[in-house]
Amino acid sequence: MTQKMESSGGIVHGNDKVIEVVNELVEFYGTASDKVVQILTGIQNRLNYLPDEALIEVARLTDITPGQISEISTFYPQFRHKPTGRHIIQFCAGTTCFLKGSREIKEAFRDYLKIEESKSCSPDNLFSIEDVECLGVCAIAPAVRIGNEIYGNLSTADVGRVVEGFLESIEKKPRPVNKSALDNITGEIRVGIGSCCVAKGSKEVLTEIVAYKESKNIPVLVKPVGCTGACGYTPIMDIVSNEGDRKRYVAVTPQDVESIMEENFGDKKNMVNTVDDARGIISKKLDDYLAKQTRITTDTGGILSPVSLNEYISKGGLEPFKRLVNEKNRSLIIDRLTLSGLKEKSSSKLVGEEIWSLKTDENGSHAIICYSEENDTGSFKDRMMLETFPFKIIEGMLIMGLAADIGRAIFHISDMYPLAKRRIKNAISQYIKAGYLGYNILDSGFSFEIIVIEGPGDFMCGERESEFAGMRVLMLSPETFCGVPSVFENGNSDGNNARKTPNTLIVGLTGRVDTPGVVEVAEGTSIGVIIDRFGGGTESKENIKAVHIGGLAGCFIPKELFDMPLDYDIFRNNSLFLGPGNIEMINEADSIVDLTLHFADFARRQSCGKCAICRAGTKRMYDIITKIREKNCAKEELAELELLCVHLKKGSLCGLGKNAPNAVVSALKYFKKEFEDGLLA
């Protein structure tokens, strides 16, 4: 225990409530200095911000010094130092939302709530606003979150409706639930409940379905399922008989439910088709959309419940793990993984080789880590994966644990994705109850535990490495874990027939597309094919100009290069960055300069600020592009920008700074004209 401050610097101690909250949390978490983030998160959850008095009190009671607590609490943007209104409206600062007009939406909210320019809280203290990185629902951009509700596909005209609707919703009584226990079930009705499905009204649709079913006593199971990834078509309602016949309805509204239910279960069952033709056609399109993919990792999306382990097991889940845990043959598992060609998507390294290359240090702490992207389109995909395939991802972790001989795993999920976090936690507890997690699983001698780390995520700036420095870790994305069980499906114990899977890539497709979503395609599929097959072309068909690919560290690719296959090696050889492999479509009418400015803004905000070139260089980059945008840029400054990019790339100390100029460099390479238009006459 370190000695505490000689004097608290003359601050008046805060009110009793603050002191009480701090005391409780310190008692709960203890006084060790590595608990600071948890304690701060707790305080903010209780008091809605971090009052100075609370920080001082924490420093007084624990091993944390005032210097440390000041530094940490101001470093993470998630921590607030000023009180907020009762409800917080979070504006997405991600790329797709930006492309689709998030700035105007934010202004409209400010206007509607009468929030002054310099303030962040409405005069009645009911709402405050804040910017967050991508909300992970890019398919329904532009989006905002109020409290726990996400609202998508917004236009400025929707603002009043959204605010009033939100206020109403918090007063609403709970709606009917699926309660009657029925025998003789004839089939099930599946509705997707991913975050953006929900934002598009799938919960209301479910409520209507349940209400209808309850009132008419229909012997059918209403089953919320994970998302199909076809966000452009949701809410999707599949009515599936026990025999496997399926009727599919897309873009269902709560008002449609009654006629759909009548059509399938009512007295005039199947006599009149009340569902219009157009929808029938779209439904076919959706079938097509799914059929054209190579769905290996995402095969059960839209089919299985994301909250039932029993169902997962009954459909063949955990078979691979059960077999492997009995075989107890580490090297065989690794060989099969290597053979299958399964790669970690962020690094494109073979998973099998990654395991071999782990340091074999017996005493050091070790863990398997599942990290999710927290920015931009990467988070859209990862969020959807975590929400939809929690059981499969955990099974993948278990198998990796067996292979790497590691008994501990960590999920790092940002506070930004509450639903994903809930699903994962729920899945973990079901696994524990069923005996597939914990000590000596299935009497095999293999023990495995999983914890979920909460609190501010923010893995940028090389913190990802440093946070777990000295640990023996295997860090993979949800997508990779989710791909692991498929490798061992249909396998038998002689070990030679690891399923040689076509290597797939899961791609989030957003921006100016007709049907945004998450699709799984074979590695090497070209950009153009993905756009045509799944995007349904661009919103305004002909006008496509480019895509931006790879999230915030990614680059622009003009339409002339759309034949380029999505392949890590090819990208790398062209000094392009495929990153999490997501595609953002850009129209002729969209300004590349604006978008570039958006990426520069992100880099500027995310820089940790330690090294001068990144801290000030990203800001200078932003300033010059701003001048171009305002058609106020001197010729020398454009030249300065080009050299600045080179210097950022060659001189920055961490990945953020090195990759910060990627978007600018590719924009200058392919769309120089747009920049030159911004020069002073």
Partner: protein, 351 residues
Amino acid sequence: MIKIKINNRTFEVEPGRTILSIAEDGGIKIPTLCHYPGIEEDASCLICSVRNKRDGTFTPACATIAEDGMEIDTKSKEVIEYRKRIIRLILMEHRAECEAPCRVSCPFGHDIPLLNRYLSEGKIKEALSLLVSETGDKPLHCPECEAFCETNCRRGSIDSPISIRNIRMFLSSRLEETSIKPDDQSRPDNEYKKLFSSKITALTAAELSEWLKECEDTTERYREIGDYLTAGYEAKNCMHCDCRAANDCGLREIAAQLGVTDPPEKFDSLPIEKKINRNANLVFERAKCIKCGLCVRACNDLDGRVALTYLNRGLDLIVSEPIGVDFRYIHSEKADIYSNICPTGALRKIK
């Protein structure tokens, strides 16, 4: 032993040493700002960057451990370009003034603030010898001068200018009684103009009052100066508009060496702010801080005594006393360390 080439010279050294230390032993000069012997390295200013010839990247010499077979270049055009870039960027977030308006407007470049400092601290001998070294054998310029210094004196926009000319004339009248030799410490005349100097900007009322903090213990103004005591009292009203590091600033020196001038455009600049801790004899001017982090690395508060820390991230990153703690509680032992290691005028002794 490992072998490394710096500017095509081969060095054979024991492993584990930084490029900077090897270069220094070999007499190769590399500029540094955030490096200080004995303090843990944490490359942040990047001014010591050198080029790794293998991959063309720049790497900070102070924190890069030499590896066998490395080939380093410390002085090519690319390296110099890169260092210029770094200094320009640092200057864009550096809002400060090396010299005071009075001195800059004096046709002879007399170091008026320093003279005032001597007088206010009762250092009469030093004051006189400064005067001698500035005028040499020639008579004092001031009686014939329009007193540009007073016209531009910053104190003038608060109440009235410091009585600079009268102070100097009084001192000059006393010179005969003494046998003062020129002070070879001071930099006479317009020498300073060869150095880098940041722009003098117009100040807001709020900033003027920050400046006035320098004169917290003064009471009265004097127009006529007839003795050392009144000269001292009037000199105390001088607000110390020049930078305390003007003569030993790493940033100024490197900028001058590289021939970089103050960039016309600055980032949304920090307000000028003076934090004064009279107990510890320490003043902190954040607008001059280049966020090199030396002070934060040199002392932490694990010993229970208040220390400076980082706040925020990215361009908002600043060095500050911790939240809820007053700057006046910084301990004088730490203050001594701070004023010694800070490469700029951000942290300096008041006197």
